[in-house]
């Protein structure tokens, strides 16, 4: 059974007949080339009849002993709609890299820290072990030459950064964020699944309200409160093992700096690929749609409600986070001089 799972990846965390576990898919010969993990899974499904199976979580503990896997090199967290996919794509441009971009099995297990695991309880330890196991399984060496493993998490997963860094205390992490008004406008224009999930427990936990209260908030308020909470978490927990990055800083040299922070040093050819990638829309699979800067347009499009909610819930945490980022940049500059 375990040997048979080599080359298979846990593509989702699911509950089957009341049994929580993982849905696996035969991904032999499939590179994780798309901007999002789910896009790769969709391609694999479309190409031919890929084998699928369900297992309970205990398989992960057994696989940890037999699968050769890459240790995580860098974590990308973000506040949504702020350039994190561009960064993930840049990591993917580095040879021998595996990039897990919002893999559902990872982010759903992290969500269970909120929905099913009391602080310090047995389940918290269990989900931590499962999360480590899922990453080990997803980071397996399927070609044999993989060296770097990067994980880009879904935005809500950042709320569990303390639990994640308990599992991987030495892995450097980055928090990417953007001006709250621009972020809210983007999320209102194309509403993401995390903002309209029927199960409000995750957002309720992040925003500090009850599930009932969360379910009646406007999307603008829910988004603004979530952003404020994520900014505050980053402000509180950013350390010397982490990097704060604003969307408005993103450029090819800054991306190179991020990779260097992850202790990866791309070749000239790889940097050329990254530079080309920064000129196109990062989430689109074909990579042919030209990227158009839209910060000003988003500011202009913001409704009164967006501005009010941003002012109430997100702008002050954003300002404090910016202050911390600038101070830490100054410290880095001083330490270099």
């Amino acid at each position: 059974m375990l040997r048979d799972l080599k080359g298979w990846l846990p593509v989702d965390a699911v509950v089957v007949n009341g049994r929580p576990g993982l849905r696996w898919m035969d991904m032999a010969g499939i590179n994780l080339a798309e901007p999002f993990f789910q896009q790769t899974v969709a391609r694999a499904k479309a190409e031919n009849n890929r084998g699928e199976l369900f297992t309970e979580f205990d398989v992960l503990l057994q696989l940890e002993r037999v699968l050769d896997s890459v240790t995580p090199r860098g974590f990308i967290f973000h506040s949504s709609r702020c350039g994190s996919t561009l960064l993930a794509n840049a990591c993917r441009a580095v040879s021998n890299s595996i990039v897990l971009s919002e893999a559902p099995a990872i982010d759903k297990l992290i969500a269970r820290f909120i929905t099913d695991a009391a602080e310090g309880g047995v389940k918290e330890s269990l989900y931590s072990v499962f999360l480590r196991g899922v990453v080990h399984a997803l980071g397996q060496r399927r070609n044999g030459n993989e060296e770097h493993l990067f994980i880009k998490f879904a935005c809500c997963s950042f709320s569990q950064i303390e639990r994640i860094t308990r599992i991987w205390p030495d892995v450097p992490w980055l928090f990417l964020y953007r001006d709250p008004i621009e972020t809210i406008v983007s999320n209102m224009t194309d509403v993401p699944p995390w903002l309209i999930d029927n199960d409000r427990r995750v957002l309720a936990s992040i925003t500090g309200v009850s599930s009932e209260a969360a379910s009646v908030l406007s999307l603008e308020e829910l988004c603004a409160r979530t952003l404020g909470s994520l900014y505050s978490t980053a402000h509180r927990l950013a350390t010397c093992n982490s990097m704060l990055l604003n969307y408005n800083q993103l450029s090819v040299p800054v991306i190179a700096n991020v990779l260097s922070f992850f202790n990866v040093h791309p070749s000239t050819e790889e940097m050329d690929t990254i530079a080309r990638g920064s000129g196109v829309y990062s989430k689109e699979v074909s990579g042919t749609h030209e990227f158009i800067a839209d910060a000003e347009a988003k500011q202009k499009r913001a409704s009164d409600l967006v501005r009010e909610m941003a002012a109430t819930w997100a702008i002050e945490p954003y300002r404090l986070l910016e202050q911390k980022r600038l101070q830490s940049n100054n410290l880095r500059a001083v330490s270099r001089s």
């Binding site: 047995v122 330890s125 931590s128 308990r166």
Partner: protein, 90 residues
Amino acid sequence: MSSSNLVPGKHVVATDFDGGEGILVDLNTKKYYQLNETAMVVWKGLENGKTVAEIVADITANYEVAPERAILSVQRIVDNFQTYKLVGAQ
């Protein structure tokens, strides 16, 4: 100490977590067990083929604990392993 030849069951998988603690899963029953640091030391000792007396010696050598207390603690942990059928005779 009567349980000197116990070994972990082949149906049990152990994994480290958070420094010294650990999780055991019984693959037959699908039950999970959380082990504290001492219980994990005992489990690893059994995995390495040590007797209970040898495990007690390891613990008293590495932790500030009286031998009598270490014996009681290790025996209680081993008894629990046996109760839950996580270990068996060699």
